[in-house]
């Protein structure tokens, strides 16, 4: 049974070899071979996942003593299913999409190698295997993004991705070295066992080893999941083939969330790192969403949307909702993959007809023309604030009654409340014949989403972390001082309510002020539209390094 685990990455590897060997003989038909192997891999993963669900998982497979270990556990099975599923869809999509491109067979070889590497990465049971797979993902992605070897632009941005990934690789190597030094083994299972038994706290630069490792792992996750300051590669890699964009946004970019979950036993000893994850994730979510709104290029806008989603995923990890982050990355992977694969068709169709129905929703959302007759404001404000919180509380109470004991859950509830309130706040000005029907539909949709989210995340929690005590330890590690927590919640509530009041005030007095935007607003818009000048700063820094290197070479006479 354990051979099944090895077979999962072996199949795409074999496919890559066969595609390369038979490319000349089979021509374009060789892609069918690759698709067949991808589908078989998916079926195999489904078998393993079912075995895991029924408690008969295949355990682990070791290539040699203590190295080349592949494990089958709930996390690897779930992530494997996501990777194999998206890989199969991308394979099928590419058969026709890439048909006119040069290097057709090479593309499928690289796609198969990438699938195999990702599957090894999620199943790695020792640090060496994880490091190899983690590093190779960056290398393979570089060549996939630069599939068109004549496109200098594609390679330029592929290099950005590669370089950012290498920063994350360096952090992961240092984290691995620290773990090996502190616990004397490369095996992840043994390391996690020893961390729990470690009574003598070893330190590096004044940090306890788990905390130092946690910060390095966080940096690796930030680079891979496009967190703020390490995000610029993500929206600029659109010159690569669309199937690669889909694979990247749906699968590869999620690796940060996977890494945090894989090293959960380290993070339960590194509460401060989890707080750092929360802050970075929050900043990324906000900035990614703001940048998304200012883009006029569909694919770039999708890129920033992914950045925002990755920020939210990291934030979930930061509040201790590790399994929720996995659910989030799977859900995001599926819908973002679909969006990317459909983007070309949408752009093509929009050239003929924009396809937007000219109804009330269109005039409200696109032309920004709210109805003149609005519902009573106070009633709507009360509904806006009350409905989401009632739904959220009831849904979580139904799913897990101890939910309110956890700070992380409160934070997520808070975000859910804000989002729900924002939704109702935005729609109360819509023109409608039947306001009760509109409100009823909004509330119904919101209830379904919240109940679904709460129930599925709870199921994921039970599947990924069956031990209740460990789940509590994760939430406890993410928690912080109750007084500070309450102060922050009140502060953020005040800021958001003030924002709403500001919006209301500006809408009521909008006509008096006229339509001319303020200078501050325009400066902010300029800053956002130039993406905070980060790409310029990075470009300037790399040119400075290259110039310094040139001067050094001249000065030292090229020796």
């Amino acid at each position: 049974m354990e051979q099944l685990i090895a077979l999962v990455p072996a199949l795409p590897l074999l496919s890559a070899a066969l595609v390369h060997l038979f490319a000349d003989r089979l021509g374009r038909q060789v892609a069918r071979l690759s698709v067949a192997f991808a589908t078989t891999t998916l079926i195999l993963i489904v078998v393993i996942l079912v075995a895991e669900l029924t408690g008969h998982g295949p355990g682990q497979f070791a290539l040699a003593d203590g190295v080349g270990i592949l494990v089958s556990d709930p996390l690897s099975a779930l992530m494997g299913l996501l990777i194999a599923g998206i890989s199969t869809i991308v394979h099928i999509y590419s058969v026709r999409y890439m048909a006119e491109e040069a290097g057709y067979a090479r593309f499928f070889v690289l796609l198969d190698l990438m699938a195999a590497t990702l599957l090894v990465m999620v199943a790695a049971g020792d640090l060496l295997t994880l490091l190899v797979a983690w590093h190779l993902v960056g290398v393979l992605l570089y060549f996939l993004l630069g599939h068109d070897t004549r496109s200098i632009g594609a390679y330029r941005y592929a290099f950005w991705t590669f370089f950012t990934y290498r920063i994350g690789d360096a952090a992961l190597v240092l984290a691995a070295a620290l773990l090996v030094y502190a616990y004397g083994t490369w095996s992840l299972a043994e390391i996690f066992q020893r961390i729990d038994q470690d009574t003598v706290a070893q330190t590096v630069f004044g940090f306890a080893v788990p905390e130092a490792v946690g910060w390095l792992l966080a940096l690796a996750a930030f680079a891979r999941s496009a967190q703020f300051l390490l995000h610029t590669w993500l929206p600029y890699t659109m010159d690569g083939p669309t199937p690669v964009s889909a694979l990247m946004h749906a699968g590869i970019v999620n690796a940060g969330g996977f890494l945090v979950n894989r090293f959960a036993p380290v993070f339960v000893h590194a509460g401060d790192v989890l707080h750092g994850l929360f802050i970075v994730g929050l900043i990324t979510a906000v900035i990614g969403s703001v940048l998304m709104l200012t883009q006029n290029d569909v694919k770039k806008s999708l890129g920033y949307s992914t950045m925002g989603q990755m920020g939210f995923m990291t934030m979930e990890c930061g509040v201790g909702a590790f399994s929720l982050a996995i659910y989030h990355l799977i859900a995001h992977g599926l819908f973002k993959g679909a969006l990317f694969l459909g983007a070309g068709g949408v752009i093509g169709a929009a050239r003929k007809d924009d396809g937007v129905p000219k109804d009330h929703l269109y005039t409200f959302v696109v032309e920004r023309r709210p109805a003149r007759l609005r519902q009573p404001w106070i009633v709507m404000a009360m509904l806006t604030l009350a409905i989401p919180i009632v739904i959220l509380v009831v849904a979580h109470w139904l799913v897990a009654q101890d939910f309110f004991q956890k700070q992380g859950a409160i934070v997520l509830l808070f975000f859910g409340w804000i989002t729900g309130a924002q939704l109702i706040f935005a729609t109360y000005r819509m023109r409608t014949q039947n306001v009760r029907r509109l409100l009823g539909l909004i509330v119904f949709s919101f209830t379904i989403i919240v109940l679904g989210y709460a129930a599925i995340s709870h199921i994921f929690d039970l599947f990924l972390y069956p031990e209740a005590a460990f789940r509590d330890r994760i939430y406890a590690a993410a928690g912080f001082d109750v007084v500070w927590f309450d102060v922050l919640v009140v502060l953020v509530t005040c800021i958001i309510v003030l924002g709403w009041l500001g919006t209301y005030y500006s809408e009521r007095n909008g006509k008096r002020r006229g339509d001319r935007p303020g200078r501050l607003w325009m400066s902010f818009y300029a800053l956002v539209s130039r993406e905070f000048y980060l790409t310029d700063v990075y470009g300037w820094a790399s040119r400075a390094i290259l110039n310094a290197a040139s001067r050094l070479n001249v000065w030292l006479r090229w020796a």
Binding site: R150, A171, I545
Partner: protein, 252 residues
């Protein structure tokens, strides 16, 4: 007496400014056989001198060595002449070997590490002659588009550069991992600088590839690498690959 030994070793496991001697010599050597000999024998001589030197390696030598690795990593970024690039990457990689030597690694292990760094550089030195034969110079940004014009040569070049920049599963990867694990307990900053140097190698490697294989192909269409030569390179790379996997098994 021990200091003299280390100074001589610093010439062969190049430490700046003594490293300039190797790079001058390598740049002036026109014969490919001599270049291959230099790349293989130079660091082995350093390891041999180190093994007969008595006493502990002074910390300042280690600091100079790590500075050398970083310096040549940075300088390689701005290079366009592939032969000089080869010399700089060799210098940067061999300087790293001072760390396991400081950590008490045995001579045999150091020799294997040096060989693991040198072997892909030898392959690049051979590819340089192939480029010079076809274009008159091995120079990035001069012709470009080789992926389209010379797919076999480009494919081999890509794998050779990946091997030089210590990509998994080539031997350099295992060496760098071992060196970082060795350095970390006693010298965490040195370990971080090593990780940074590794990053610079990747950057330099990508710039080299960009300048040679990317872009539209030129009008002149020289002959690609012959199938037999390609197979020879593939066999060499396969051997390196196998050695890398073996070396990783040794780490565990």
């Amino acid at each position: 007496m021990a200091s003299y030994g280390y100074i001589i070793a610093a010439l062969f496991l190049p430490v700046f400014p003594l490293s300039m001697a190797f790079n001058m010599l390598y740049a002036r050597t026109r014969s490919v056989a001599l270049r291959v000999l230099l790349l293989l024998a130079w660091p082995q001589a350093g390891v041999a001198v180190l093994s007969v030197s008595s006493g502990d390696i002074p910390v300042w030598v280690i600091l100079f060595a790590i500075w050398t690795a970083l310096l040549y990593g940075v300088r390689a970024l701005a290079l366009r002449e592939v032969s000089i690039w080869t010399g700089f990457l060799a210098t940067s990689a061999w300087a790293v070997l001072w760390i396991p030597a400081y950590g008490g690694a045995e001579s045999v292990q150091l020799q294997l590490y040096a060989l693991g760094f040198s072997a892909p550089l030898v392959l690049l030195a051979l590819l340089v002659t192939e480029l010079e034969r076809r274009f008159g110079a091995a120079y990035t940004g001069l012709y470009g588009g080789l992926a389209h014009a010379l797919p076999r040569l480009s494919g081999v070049l890509v794998f050779v550069v990946l091997a030089i920049t210590a990509t998994p599963l080539f031997p350099g990867f295992a060496t760098m991992l071992d060196v970082i694990v060795t350095a970390l307990p006693a010298m965490p900053v040195v370990a971080a600088v090593l990780a940074g140097t590794w990053l610079l190698w990747s950057w330099a490697g990508v710039r080299l590839l960009h300048g040679l294989i990317i872009g539209p192909a030129g009008e002149a269409a020289p002959q690609d690498l012959s199938p037999s030569a390609t197979w020879a390179y593939v066999a060499a790379l396969g051997a390196l690959f196998a050695a890398g996997i073996y070396a990783m098994g040794g780490l565990a």
